[in-house]
């Protein structure tokens, strides 16, 4: 017994001393800082089933901030950032948010569940939620969701762009919307989705488009976590005889369709993935079966951009990188760099109005609504071809970014060079309807955007 007690006390003392030491280290760290700083709290997940996405994204963003700091900060204001591990768990995400909420002005929740939990909280705490390409699609309506920015495009927009792209592959010229129906008519599109709320989000928009353009869409749910999709694929290939398959999965379930399609002889270049199924980590496990697979994206891939080169030279040259060098330029990494660029540009916009100092949440939100990243500015940033021009307004929190397409050539992702504009009016109507319904349920007063400066 004495031994047991001793072990316990030992463990206890160890824990306590760790805590005490941490406190001291933290205090020492606070003192070290000089000059004005802007705090950024990062909700990362480097562990758990989706670590590939979480580690790439947060490291990309951190590396870009490191680069900005090395180049003298944003007009002298340097970034200070801290990471908090969520493990893709909603409760942990909320804890991380609460940990940072007094200091941060914007948050990238990086998970659908955490986004849903944070929307009401952040609205109350005046913190901007940037949910890049995930979360509620109807949050694009800035009248109802003043604090949420699902930039640069949301799931619904993405799917209209996908349908347009499919029509183009079928022979449509890609411009004249009045003739698109001719190429889509009678087409069979299978929507293979993971059977959680995230996977179901696009069902209404696909159904609406099917009705409008006369193609056939069928939804094939894959039960979580989607390791076995044999039955669905038999259905898709043998019974439904699909022309195109939309791969709307997440994590390990992204890879399975490629193997199944190869087994049944379904051409991989007729599978089009969501942007969370379009990373190196998703296709590499499928080996040669993945060759030819298409996926969507909203930014460039690879290292051939001046901005990525600058990160490699300066940040990795000084061994200050946050991830192993081999992953620099991969899809999720670049996604993080993209997020870093948006944050930085918004801070610059705010500084023009409010002065070169650390900002508050309200100032940052104003800047987000007035953010205008033009083609010239993108060139200055060294991100030409890496991103599309974005412009936000009080009503439009999406920014109107185009959708990129990329193909896996067996070794790496190759951008096809095409960008597709979503069917804006069509999506906007559905977004407004859905957002107004939400506003009514939650008792939110809809902002009048003509009266906001």
């Amino acid at each position: 017994m004495g031994r047991k007690l001793m072990y316990t006390f030992f463990a206890l003392v160890l824990t306590l001393s760790l805590v005490a030491f941490t406190g001291q280290a933290q205090a020492a760290k606070e003192k070290k800082k000089e000059g004005p700083t802007q705090f950024v709290g990062i909700l990362a997940y480097r562990t758990g089933p989706f670590a590939a996405g979480g580690s790439g994204f947060s490291s990309g963003m951190e590396d870009y901030m490191e680069l900005i700091n090395m180049e003298g900060g944003i007009n002298g204001v340097k970034y200070v950032f801290e990471e908090c591990e969520t493990a893709y768990n909603t409760a942990r995400g909320v804890e991380c948010y609460n940990r940072f909420k007094d200091k941060m002005i914007f948050v990238h929740p990086l998970s659908t569940g955490i986004t849903y939990a944070l929307i009401p909280k952040a609205t109350k705490d005046h913190i901007v939620v940037i949910s890049s390409g995930y979360g509620r699609a109807d949050a694009s309506d800035g009248r109802v969701f003043p604090w949420v920015f699902p930039l640069p495009t949301n799931y619904w927009s993405q799917n209209t762009a996908k349908i347009k792209w499919i029509a183009k592959q079928e022979g449509w010229d890609g411009k004249d919307m009045s003739t698109i129906g001719k190429y889509l008519k009678g087409l069979k599109i299978a929507n293979l989705h993971i059977d959680v709320p995230y996977g179901q989000e696009t069902k209404p928009i696909l159904n609406a488009m099917a009705k409008k353009f006369g193609f056939k869409v069928r939804h094939f749910p894959v039960p979580w976590p989607g390791i076995d999709q044999k039955a669905q694929w038999m259905d898709i290939v043998r019974r439904f005889k699909a022309d195109w398959v939309i791969n709307r999965n997440w994590g390990v379930s992204c890879t399975v369709p490629l193997k199944e399609a190869a087994r049944l002889g379904f051409p991989r270049n007729r599978i089009l993935g969501v942007w969370w199924c379009g990373s190196e980590e998703d296709v590499l496990p499928a080996g040669p079966a993945a060759k030819g697979y298409y996926s969507t994206n909203w930014h460039g891939v690879g290292r051939n951009f001046p901005v990525i080169q600058r990160i490699i030279d300066k940040v990795y040259g000084k061994m200050k990188g946050h991830i192993s060098f081999t992953r620099v330029g991969s899809v999720y990494y670049n996604r993080g760099v993209y997020a870093g660029i948006i944050n930085t540009e918004a801070i610059r916009t705010a500084q023009k109005k409010f002065g070169n100092r650390p900002l508050t949440g309200d100032e940052f939100r104003w800047a987000m609504e007035h953010l205008n990243i033009t083609a010239e500015r993108i060139k200055e940033l060294g991100a030409e071809g890496f991103m599309q021009p974005l412009k936000f307004s009080c009503a439009d929190h999406e920014g109107g970014g185009k959708v990129f397409f990329q193909q896996w050539d067996g070794q790496k992702w190759v951008m096809t060079g095409e960008t597709m504009e979503p069917m804006k009016d069509f999506v906007r109507k559905m977004i407004e309807k859905s957002a107004e319904k939400y506003a009514k349920e939650q008792g939110i007063k809809i902002r009048d955007c003509s009266k906001v400066d």
Binding site: V19, Y45, S58
Partner: protein, 352 residues
């Protein structure tokens, strides 16, 4: 002495049946109540209250529910998080859509969950042990599927319900401290009830079933009835805990939060804390809720030195290591440690 009974003989029925036979426990309990009701609301920071203490109470309640089922009645359930989800969604529906007052809707959520739980407890009448564990695992997936697919429950394709503003008799529950008191009062009431339940006839029946079920049947325990009651009570607690967790902490009911990993964590809580003890539910919940956050905080100090991708994995390694360490040091759970200490004190300073 304050740490042992006076003599070994009880001279009244009341002292024989006391919840806390020794003064040390009685005083400790009073001190704990004082801490929870006075000291924490007055002195703890908002961060501490919202992120650590409220989830701790909710998970302690839920772990105790599972402890009734697994620890007292011996029926293993690996789908307990799904019952928390049932509680969360049903309380939001009762309160948000039908306008039933807050406390009745939380209790109602417990009743709804108990009904669902009794239904999923039916297999326990035929199968036991590991086989039952697998049968209860099904409840996890069936409930998740139903919540995602029935739009009436999940409120459309987004699958999430936001917490409505909370009022009790027109009094808004909007600050951390008020939410804290809501969670605390519920927890104290139901823990007191639960502690007495497991000390009474029902608890004894459950323990008899756990130890040797056919022997229990021979001495007159109604197996079917008591197993189903165990499921009902246990899932009632899970429902209440799920509702409180979503109302007081997360602020939205989202099915992804109550996945199978949470079920495993609950199972871990009662094993680490101590099967078949009330105190163990607290220890286990404390271990699983606070420790990862504590480790995470501690590691944040090393951000500049160690690369962050290694750092976050270290957290998992330390946490896993501590689980193993505690199981080696005390296989019967942390509650047993406390028990051992008390036993030793009883004979101190002249052990034999």
């Amino acid at each position: 002495m304050f740490y042992r009974e006076c003599g070994n003989f009880k001279d009244s029925y009341a002292s024989d049946m006391a919840i806390f036979p020794i003064p040390l426990d009685r005083w400790g309990f009073t001190v704990m109540l004082f801490l929870a009701f006075v000291v924490i609301p007055l002195f703890a920071s908002e961060y501490l209250i919202t992120n650590i203490i409220i989830p701790f109470y909710c998970f302690a309640l839920s772990a105790f529910g599972l402890n009734i089922l697994a620890g007292y009645a011996g029926q293993i359930s690996i789908g307990h998080a799904a019952f928390m989800a049932v509680g969360a969604y049903s309380s939001f529906i009762l309160y948000g859509r039908y306008g039933i007052p807050l406390i009745p809707s939380i209790l109602g959520a417990g009743v709804v969950t108990a009904a669902v739980g009794t239904f999923f407890g039916l297999p326990s009448l035929r199968i036991k042990g590991f086989y039952l564990a697998i049968a209860t695992l099904a409840s996890q997936f069936i409930i998740e599927w139903v919540i995602v697919h029935v739009e009436w429950i999940s409120g459309g394709v987004f699958g999430t319900i936001q917490a409505p503003e909370m009022y009790i008799f027109g009094w808004p529950i909007n600050t951390a401290v008020r939410k804290y008191f809501l969670a605390l009062c519920m927890m104290v009431v139901f823990m007191t009830f639960g502690k007495n339940l497991v000390r009474g006839q029902m608890g004894r029946n459950w323990m008899a079933i756990r130890d040797i079920d056919y022997a229990a049947e021979i001495i007159g325990v109604n197996l079917y009835r008591d197993k189903l009651i165990a499921f009902a009570v246990s899932t009632f607690y899970a429902g209440i805990a799920g509702a409180l967790l979503c109302f007081c902490y997360v602020g939205a009911a989202n099915i992804e939060e109550f996945n199978v990993m949470t079920s495993f964590a609950l199972m871990g809580m009662i094993i680490i804390g101590g099967l078949g003890t009330v105190l163990g539910s607290f220890f286990g919940a404390g271990f699983f809720v606070t420790l990862p956050i504590l480790i995470n905080h501690s590691l944040a100090a090393f951000m500049d030195v160690v690369p962050s991708d290694i750092l976050s994995n270290i957290e998992a390694i330390i946490f896993g290591g501590l689980i193993v360490l505690f199981l080696i040091v005390e296989p019967y759970g942390m509650a047993r440690l406390w028990h051992t200490i008390k036993d030793k004190l009883r004979l101190w300073p002249f052990p034999y």
